[in-house]
């Protein structure tokens, strides 16, 4: 997938991204309503959004759900993986469907992943299974408090 650098985004796409990170209207013709605010036609807005989605500038367009409200359970986990075993352990961890995402980070605790399951007991089961399969302790960092964020990326 081609990734466009920020400087490749034209002024109109930047305006679209800055305006449409939230507040997409809940009306029968929402693209038309949003386009009117931006001074674009409905077709132009749809075409630009589609192109940005296809090029990977937009990763998703739609409603963002509160994960906890959906009844799921989540836990940030980390492991200190010996460098020589890193790829094999990454493969084993990623193979589990409970692993929603996984990042390598520069630290002694060098693998950080999020477990997402339908119920809390399955978090424990998945973490234990990873420990058993790899022989490496999994530190669990469940969320105690989330600070609600108004984060918007400036395009």
């Amino acid at each position: 997938m081609k990734r466009k650098a920020a400087h490749e985004l034209d002024a109109t796409n930047r305006r679209i991204l800055n305006a449409l990170q939230e507040g997409f209207p809940l009306v029968p013709r929402p693209y038309a309503a949003a386009a009117a605010e931006l001074g674009l036609t409905e077709a132009a807005l749809i075409g630009r959004l589609k192109a940005m989605r296809e090029s990977g500038v937009i990763t998703r367009f739609g409603p963002f759900f509160d994960a906890a409200a959906l009844g799921g359970a989540f836990c940030l986990c980390t492991m200190a993986v010996p460098e020589e075993r890193f790829e094999a352990v990454a493969e084993a961890v990623n193979a589990r469907p409970e692993v929603a995402h996984n990042y390598a980070r520069a630290h002694q605790l060098n693998m950080w992943f999020v477990l997402a399951t339908e119920t809390p007991d399955r978090i424990e089961a998945a973490a234990s299974a990873i420990e058993a399969g790899t022989g490496i302790p999994v530190l669990r960092f469940p969320k105690l408090h989330e600070f609600f964020i108004g984060f918007r990326v400036a395009a």
């Binding site: 759900f65 996984n102 980070r105």
Partner: protein, 162 residues
């Protein structure tokens, strides 16, 4: 914030994104055998109840040039951790902020704040601003830069009722 079976079907049908068609809610309605008005009403209700946080675009940080991604971690006095966490979370530069349990002695940090920037130097500047904000309530802090995405899948709800 309870959701019923119809809400769940709407969530399952929209979590991959809305169609880039003039009437995207009608597309969802057709697929589920509901009316467009019911889909819109239920989405509005879920938004009002906080089940939906926002509706719109998720830009790719990397595509926007925000390639430096630092998980800043802070050992903040428990007595003021919630109050200060709110302030950190409210900063424009912070995309996620959470309190999590410490894991002593290996891990003394209880506040996690994700910071993005175009360069690590920019992330360091933002980290320095957080350090000022936390002041003496913070005993020690660190930043863990991501070096590679090993796996990334969106949140996926199992289709159908539980």
């Amino acid at each position: 914030m309870s959701i019923d079976a119809v809400d769940r079907r709407i969530i399952a049908a929209t979590q991959g994104g809305l169609a880039f068609e003039a009437a995207p809610y009608a597309v969802v309605a057709d697929r589920l055998g509901l009316s467009e008005a019911e889909v819109i009403d239920r989405l509005a209700s879920m938004q009002a109840r906080g089940v939906i946080r926002r509706i719109g675009a998720a830009p790719n940080h990397y595509a926007l040039g925000l390639t430096a991604n630092g998980m800043t971690v802070w050992d903040v006095d428990d007595a003021v951790a919630v109050v200060l966490g709110e302030k950190v979370g409210a900063l424009d530069d912070v995309s996620h902020a959470y309190l999590r349990p410490r894991n002593l002695p290996q891990w003394p940090y209880n506040l996690f704040a994700m910071v993005h920037g175009t360069t690590r130097a920019e992330v360091e500047e933002k980290r320095a601003r957080i350090a000022v904000l936390l002041g003496e309530a913070c005993r020690t802090h660190d930043v863990l830069y991501s070096t590679r995405i090993l796996k990334k899948t969106g949140l996926r709800l199992v289709e159908g009722d539980r």
